[in-house]
Amino acid sequence: MVTKTLNVSRKHEIKEKFYLIAVLQGMWITLKYFCRGFFLWKSYTINYPEEKRNYSQRFRGMHFISYDENKIENCTACYLCQTVCPAECITIIAEERDPLKNPSGVWKEKKPKSFDIDALRCCFCGMCEESCPKDAIKLSRNYELATRTREQAIYNLDHLKREVKGRG
């Protein structure tokens, strides 16, 4: 196959060919930005650990399981989130709930014995949150997910039942 090259002629004015003017324009722009940083202390970045960005309410971060006023989780171990999860990171083991430890008329006959979310596999799509009929599993706005070991990144039920205000 023979490749053909096509030379497109671009007409430059003499002003454009004499690059110094363009260079000076660029220098003027960077000087403006320099002065903005130097005199006005403006920047687009933040001092991260001290200041934190406020993300939107719809931000999907670390998971949590909501609970009612008696500290009983809303989850009924229906397996919908485990089924819908595209990354297959949710593992639920269900058991029967003791009816004696079920006050205030909340009728939940199943409860999760263990509820593990592997955050290393999770893709934070939010489909578990969408599918949950009890609004139990939710994604908070906490985006600081770093852990020291891989084991810590697998969230168990105790971790998921932590107190999250609003959406975190």
């Binding site: 260079v23 660029g26 220098m27 722009i29 960077t30 000087l31 930005y33 320099f34 903005r36 940083g37 130097f38 403006k42 920047s43 687009y44 970045t45 933040i46 001092n47």
Partner: protein
């Protein structure tokens, strides 16, 4: 040469070292902070007030890193290159005058380290040597990438040495002297060199960027094509010496530009008024004190000029994208070189008919 002169020379050498190395530390800070400001970031702001102690932290880190020598390298030249690279810009600074002669205890002390009548030749000689540590370092570390980097550095520096030399030659034609003090006096009497000969100022200015390997022409260093450049095999303090030498060379180049084209130590506009005001305020009668006060203002003005040019180096670095190698060579050989030659001819005519008539 009596004792006072020897002591004064030693003090001057120590002062030059101390001031330039402090300026280097400050410049690395300004480089990173200025880059951050230009790009709308914060930059290093944790160590000390405004992050000013960041260079100290960097220095401590460099000292405590492992100092290694590659096994197959040429040990002598490998170790000689970082030493040479820092020495040569300092040597070139030797003959740059920072003020008129100072009078202390009836002794005349020139405000430059070495008193050469042809100081500009010394500067040219040592800036010409600046290419050698780069070549030696790249070659001796026995790594193909550093050899490639040093080859690029050598071809670029030699290409721009020529147009730089021709720009200097045209200025020498204008000033009619090799003595840098005389050059400054000429500019005090007439006007700054950049107004007499703007083309040479522009050519010299650009060639300096290529000579010091600063960003529009930082071909010797390229992260994407050759891993780092000629200092690829250097670590710890040996790399830091290469890094510092770049800034020392920048200071030297700024001083050279200030002396040749921007009036050197001649007072900045407005400074003479301030100086006269101080003399009138304290009613200084003594001729010598008056002269020495004048010299302090001269020192201040050349330091301000050097600081401004250092800032321009940093400013340009974070504004312009880098050249491709062939573009750089085209600019050097096809545009700047003929332009510099024509400029020498023009300045010959101008100085013959208008200046030395």
């Amino acid at each position: 040469m009596d004792l006072i002169n020897i002591v004064a020379t030693l003090i001057k050498i120590i002062l030059l070292f101390a001031i330039s190395l402090t300026a280097v530390a400050f410049c690395t800070w300004l480089e990173r902070r200025g880059a951050a400001w230009i790009q709308g970031r914060r930059g290093p702001c944790r160590v000390g007030p405004f992050g000013l102690l960041q260079p100290v932290a960097d220095g401590i880190k460099f000292f405590f890193k492992e100092s290694f020598v590659p096994e197959k390298s040429n040990k002598f030249f490998y170790l000689a290159a970082p030493i040479l690279t820092l020495t040569i810009p300092f040597l070139a600074m030797v003959s740059i005058p920072f003020a008129e002669n100072l009078y202390i205890l009836n002794h005349e002390i020139p405000m430059r380290i070495a008193r050469f009548d042809s100081g500009i030749l010394l500067v040219i000689a040592f800036t010409g040597l600046e290419v050698y540590p780069v070549m030696i370092g790249g070659w001796a570390s026995n790594n193909k990438f550093s050899v490639l980097g040093s080859l690029r550095a050598a071809s670029q520096m030699i290409a721009y040495e020529i147009s730089m030399g021709l720009a200097l030659l045209s200025m020498i034609l204008v000033y009619g002297t090799f003595d840098m003090n005389e050059m400054v006096r000429f500019q005090e009497k007439w006007m700054w060199g950049c107004f007499i000969n703007p083309i040479a100022a522009l050519i010299f200015w650009f060639s300096i960027f290529a000579e010091t390997n600063r960003l529009p022409c930082d071909i010797p260093e390229g992260e994407s094509e050759i891993v780092a450049g000629y200092h690829l095999e250097y670590g710890a303090m040996k790399f830091a010496l290469f890094f510092m030498s770049e800034y020392v060379a920048m200071i030297m180049a700024s001083a050279l530009i200030a002396t040749l084209f921007f009036g050197g130590y001649s007072l900045l506009p407005g400074f003479s008024l301030v100086e006269k005001g101080i003399v009138a305020l304290f009613s200084i009668r003594s001729e010598i004190v008056n002269h020495n006060l004048f010299i302090i203002f001269q020192l201040l003005s050349i330091f301000l000029k050097i600081a401004f040019f250092m800032f321009v180096f940093i400013w340009v670095r974070w504004t312009l994208p880098r050249f491709r190698f062939d573009q750089l060579m085209d600019l050097g050989w096809k545009i700047l070189f003929p332009l510099a030659l024509a400029n020498v001819l023009l300045m010959g005519i101008v100085s013959y008919f208008f200046i030395y008539r």
